[in-house]
């Protein structure tokens, strides 16, 4: 049995990685400890969300599959922040936990070069710092040229409920007991992380009249740039909203010592995510808050579990019963699954290159939660990049490294490898300094060509992109050259929006540039012969011209610094003038470029100056 690439783990990172490798024509094995859990959503049922929705579009633009699978199977979809600026709008779908994995398996099994197998991987075949394959728990060896680890939360996973700790993965699955120890032996630094999940409640035991309805959008939306909407607006399933009560808080306070996190277990090392506190945390840390918001979300069309977002806990079951029953509409609720916390091993991500190949073992790539992130989208995009880069390496080509000004994916990977992590990493809009460039609406314009260059996007898709780009340019010219007379009739239309413009003639471009004029208003004033998606691009570019120009100017500076490479063999101990903290950090991260070095906290501008002078001296390079 010889494969070119083996992907270990079939979660969101693994599926995307395996797809990319096989799509690029490499003989690939996807190995999972349980075939039933391919593309599983063990926690919340969302695909997308703020910033994450943009990542899903980026994955699609680069030729990945998450967006398409979500489009074909979701229960409802929304554009978040639609009332805010274009830079922060982001799609979020309510995934179907049955249909999504099913569609994913269908996509994967249709690939010629991909084989999917069950097996527990407990070691790697390693020779002279190079990975040559994997070793299963029964000792079976499988060789490959590249290995991608996407083991999620399964490394030494412990489920924590009340005062019990059990060596189990999500859903009580078998975890990998030895792989993380082996990685440690090979030289990796391992970090213990923790996350949690709330209860699942039987749908028919909830009184929804006491909750607020949260429907999907009334407008057809898709993640993918290639698909037409394949759902009906009126058939979307709603979510609901409820709140904790004073009684809930009372129960939590009275039972705090029974929570794993508050003393019931005294051996917790894992660091939990700051953005995802348990309900215990929220009640304790925000004691002045009278209530906390909870979302009740359907998990599937095919079964009745409702996910209780916002109520994640590690209380023992009997307390969870009490807590849930104190919620409005949940007086008689039936808990199908109790909430729990899960502790697991991850590798410290500064041990990775920007390609996601590890610095410690050649031909080994890692992606997803093993790298310290959380979230399906964060995992999937890393899987895609690891898959593409493992393939490119086989092909003898340079890796794909997306820059911070090119994609949220670039922001995420750069953050991981440059700054490391303290708690499980989640993408947030505020992490991106170029969010005005990294929009949901232009993910294809940013990334499709790159996807094409690396062999993930086909000719048809590329042609559609080229066509779109030329239409945008045409439309821009059209608006610049077409004049409009604001006559009485048009003034009346404007009056409906409380806008007054005197009787003048102006170009459509100048009209659109006025702060009060929106896409909707202009469509009532003039008949512009271009699609909404085309007009939207032109509109955004005109409306926020100043901001966008500024962002591109900033990006240019970054690009320049990204070009200043630091040789692999640099010995920071030889640069005597560098401050010792900076030296230590540089040794740890070993940045590939000056730009990356600047982003390391603890490295000051003077250290960068000294470094660039040293580089010129030693390597004769211009910084």
């Amino acid at each position: 049995m010889n494969y070119e690439i083996i992907v270990v783990g079939a979660g969101h990172a693994g599926c995307e990685a395996a797809f990319a490798c096989a799509r690029k024509g490499h003989k690939t094995l996807l190995i999972t400890s349980n075939l039933k859990n391919i593309a599983d959503m063990p926690c919340n049922p969302h695909i997308g969300g703020s910033a994450k929705g943009i990542v899903v579009r980026e994955i699609d633009a680069l030729g990945g599959i998450m967006g398409k699978v979500a489009d074909k199977t979701h229960l409802q979809i929304k554009m978040l922040n639609s009332a805010k600026g274009p830079a922060v709008q982001s799609l979020r779908a309510q995934g179907d936990k049955i249909a999504y994995p099913k569609e994913m398996i269908k996509t994967l099994t249709s690939l010629e070069n991909l084989e999917i197998k069950e097996g527990m991987v407990e070691d790697l075949i390693v020779n002279e710092g190079k990975v040559l394959g994997i070793i299963l728990e029964d000792g079976t060896k499988i060789n490959a040229k590249e290995v991608i680890l996407t083991t999620g939360t399964y490394l030494k996973a412990d489920i924590l409920v009340g005062n019990t700790r059990t060596r189990k993965g999500p859903h009580g699955e078998r975890p990998s007991n030895f792989l993380s120890d082996k990685l440690k032996e090979y030289g990796f630094t391992i970090k213990r992380l923790k996350t949690g999940t709330p209860q699942r409640i039987a749908r028919d035991s909830i009184d929804f009249s006491k909750t607020k309805l949260e429907p999907g959008d009334n407008k057809y939306l898709t993640f993918s740039f290639d698909l037409e909407p394949c759902y009906k607006i009126e058939e979307q399933m709603p979510c609901y909203l409820t709140y904790t009560t004073p009684k809930t808080h009372e129960i939590i306070r009275a039972n705090l010592n029974k929570s794993s996190m508050y003393g019931a277990l005294d051996d917790i090392e894992g660091i939990g995510p700051r953005y995802c506190p348990s309900i215990e945390d929220k009640v304790v840390r925000f004691s002045d808050k009278e209530r906390h918001q909870l979302f009740i979300e359907p998990e599937s069309r095919y079964y009745d579990d409702m996910y209780l977002q916002g109520f994640s806990t590690s209380m023992p079951p009997e307390v969870q019963e009490e807590m849930v029953h104190s919620l409005p509409g949940f007086e008689n609720a039936k808990i199908l699954k109790y909430g729990y916390a899960i502790e697991y091993d991850a590798i410290y991500p500064t041990q990775l290159k920007a390609s996601l190949e590890t610095k410690i073992l050649e031909n080994l790539f890692t992606a997803g939660q093993i790298n310290g992130t959380s979230g399906y989208e964060e995992a999937a995009c890393q899987g895609l990049i690891a898959g593409i880069n493992a393939s490119l390496k086989l092909e003898g080509k340079e890796p794909l490294v997306l820059k911070r000004n090119e994609a949220y994916i670039g922001v995420l990977i750069d953050d991981l490898i440059t700054k490391g992590i303290r708690d499980p990493y989640r993408l947030l809009t505020s992490r991106a300094e170029f969010r005005l460039i990294l929009r949901s609406d232009n993910a294809d314009l940013r990334l499709r060509n790159i996807g094409y260059e690396v062999g993930m996007i086909d000719e048809n898709q590329k042609n559609r992109l080229d066509q779109k780009m030329s239409l945008i340019n045409e439309c821009m010219e059209y608006l610049k050259n077409t004049k409009i007379k604001i006559d009485l009739e048009k003034q009346n239309i404007l009056k409906e929006y409380n806008i007054e413009i005197s009787n003048t003639t102006m170009t459509l471009e100048n009209l659109l540039k006025r702060p009060e004029i929106t896409m909707e208003i202009i469509s009532k004033l003039a008949d512009i012969p271009y699609d909404e998606t085309i007009l939207e691009q032109v509109y955004i570019n005109l409306k926020y011209e100043g901001y966008i120009k500024k962002a591109y100017k900033e990006a240019e500076k970054l690009i320049k610094l990204e070009k200043k490479q630091i040789p692999n063999d640099i010995d920071y101990n030889k640069i005597k003038n560098i401050a010792s903290e900076a030296r230590q950090k540089l040794n740890e991260v070993r940045p590939a470029t000056i730009a990356q070095a600047i982003r390391i906290s603890g490295v000051n501008p003077s250290d960068i100056s000294i470094l660039s002078v040293y580089l010129k001296k030693e390597y004769g390079k211009d910084e």
Binding site: K84, L241, H292
Partner: protein
Amino acid sequence: MEDTICAIATGGGVGAVSIIKVSGNDAISIVNSIFKGKDLTKVASHTINYGFIVDKDEIIDEVLVSVMKAPKTFTREDVVEINTHGGYAATNKVLETLLLNGCRLAEPGEFTKRAFLNGRIDLLEAEAVMNIIDSKTDIQRKMALNQISGKTSNLINDLRSDMVEIISNINVNIDYPEYDDVDIITNEILLPKITNLKNRIEEILKESENGKLIKDGIKTSIIGRPNVGKSSLLNALLEEDKAIVTDIAGTTRDIVEGNIVLNGILLNIIDTAGIRATDNKIEAIGVEKSLKLMDESDLVLFMLNNNETLTDDIKELLTKVKDKKYLIIINKIDLDRKLDIDYLKQENIVEISVKENIGIDDLKNKIIELFNIEDINMKDPTYLNNTKSITILKNCLKRVADIEQSVKDNLPIDMLEMDIKSIWEELGKINGSTYEEELLDEMFKRFCLGK
């Protein structure tokens, strides 16, 4: 495309002439934009040009500007050198104007670094360059720690902390759009907050006492009856003959200025016409001016003649000086004492003889004591750093005003957030407290979010 950088090239002291060096792609065009004289973009390379540095219509200084085009320059970039004449305050004002018009203050050793990177300096000198950067940075690091007074620093910290609240609130609105228990910041809510920020930055600029002291120097006037030795004292302090000294009473009709630096703090000394009732019209204007100047001064050096008795007008003036910071200087102690010293009952007395060079150092020490200059000096060691802070504040003020307009223009809140954040970062440079995770930490500390 490198930034265009600038710095005062002459040492920390005050010479008659200071040189400001500007280097980078935009060096010529930036200087040209604040220069009144020939069009510098059109003059030949390596020429010296006479003119004025202006801030809009206001003339800051009369200057000579050397224009040197790449590559035959020290850095191998376009270099402009501005020779200023107006002393410390004017030089710094020129520097400030450059910073406000697109230059960046050079980092320690940056000119040399550029010279090296552009191949102007020999490779063997690389080590030396790194040493320069290192040692200068060390000094700067120490400076940065105590860069501004505690009061100003606190004001800026408060300002930034309020900005963090706004920023993290908007970020929560963006990243958790469906959380209804977090306030939604709208443009209407934002507007008064922005106006408040603007007012406070203005206030900090105005009120940062020490900053002002260092920026404008201590405005010092020498007051006294004619021929008491005011001009001689000024000269003694300046160690040059800038004021005209004669023994005819009332020679100094106009005002003579001079600057000295005590422990790095600038004393802007003004010698006034002697105060006495007079029928001479020209001198009367001088007297009026003197009283006015005394009123505007940070420090009054009130000069008395050891060899004369106190007159009634002087006694009256002594009551006027009480509200100011002042020193009573008794000159001519080499002569017989006719002065009624007991009448003075004041503490801040220095006895000197300018003629015999007695007590001048005493006087300097008294001034240092009076203004706590040693203290200030520690907190705020260079003017340069402060020019930087003030420029940052001024830039921020301009940008906050822009944001105010954008809020009114109804720009999306997330775009405004980017502007606010960039000001927050900018302000952080003043007390060196921008760190990346700060905002995220704040966000999760202040707001209750999660699954």
